[in-house]
């Protein structure tokens, strides 16, 4: 397996950074023989505006830590979609929060598009804040070269504050189980 580039993007407050951190950590610490690097884009705005996190995974050393040609683009807001869709590589894979993103023709270059109403799913758990984890579950179920369910569950239990763990695990499960109509 060679270099895989994933970008998570949305707006501030959706927990985009956490998605990247969990994935990066799961890969780095628990996936045998894989390295990962996570980077975040920092803007002048403290908060608000578009937020994005890249994870690059490779079996060898990761020379260039930034993502440039995205293999996967996981996007949870319209603004982020517009901003970053050009970076998705021809034949890359797109995950979208279907209620917050309107696809346009730029999406055509994707080999496959996975859609999920992650926010709504999260709201069934009492808070939109779980949307990111639901999305992660969905990504987990539909990819093979990023991270394993097992690794992610381990990391989530370790990294997420105790009182939020349970709900997040459920969100992840719901994401795993979600089947898109398309």
């Amino acid at each position: 397996m060679s270099r895989v580039e994933i970008r998570f993007a949305g707006f501030g407050g959706q927990g985009i950074g956490l998605m990247g951190r969990l994935v990066g950590e799961a890969v780095s610490l628990l996936e045998e023989g894989k390295n990962s690097v996570m980077t975040q884009s920092y803007g002048p705005e403290s908060r608000g505006g578009a937020s994005s996190t890249d994870v690059v995974i490779d079996e060898g050393e990761i020379d260039y830590p930034k993502a440039t040609e995205l293999d996967y683009f996981v996007v949870l807001s319209e603004e982020a979609y517009q901003k970053y869709i050009p970076k998705l590589k021809e034949g890359g894979i797109l995950f979208v929060e279907e209620d917050l993103v309107t696809l346009d023709e730029n999406a055509k270059k994707a080999k496959k598009i996975f859609k999920i109403p992650a926010t709504k799913i999260a709201e069934t758990l009492g808070s939109r804040l779980y949307a990111n984890i639901a999305m992660l579950g969905y990504v987990c179920a539909n990819t093979t070269d990023i991270f394993s369910e097992e690794a992610m569950l381990t990391i989530m239990k370790e990294k997420i504050k105790a009182r939020f763990v349970e709900k997040n695990l459920i969100a992840f499960q719901k994401g795993m189980e979600y089947k898109s109509d398309s």
């Binding site: 707006f11 608000g48 807001s77 319209e78 603004e79 917050l100």
Partner: protein, 105 residues
Amino acid sequence: MGQSLERRRKKPEWPAFVDLEKLKGPDSQVYIIKDRCKECEWCIIYCPEEILETGEEINAKGYRPPVLKEGKTFDDCAECHFCELICPEFAIYVKVLEESDAEDE
């Protein structure tokens, strides 16, 4: 926030105090620049006449700008301009119609 309303109206030492008695001007119109709003709700909460509420519609940034409360009209506006002053996004303002303006329309 209802309970602070009385104070807001009556006590000059209260922050954001507006002496409504003094504000008897000509008619006014309240304007909104929807895409600037970030839904802080300050105009809604601190309007002394409580004529605003959060709308349903979502703007380009994903926020819900204020709308007139059901049953309220510009006539209920006290022309205090508080919403205009406090709005951090330059999104809402009040235009006081001069006699001539009013006549024109």
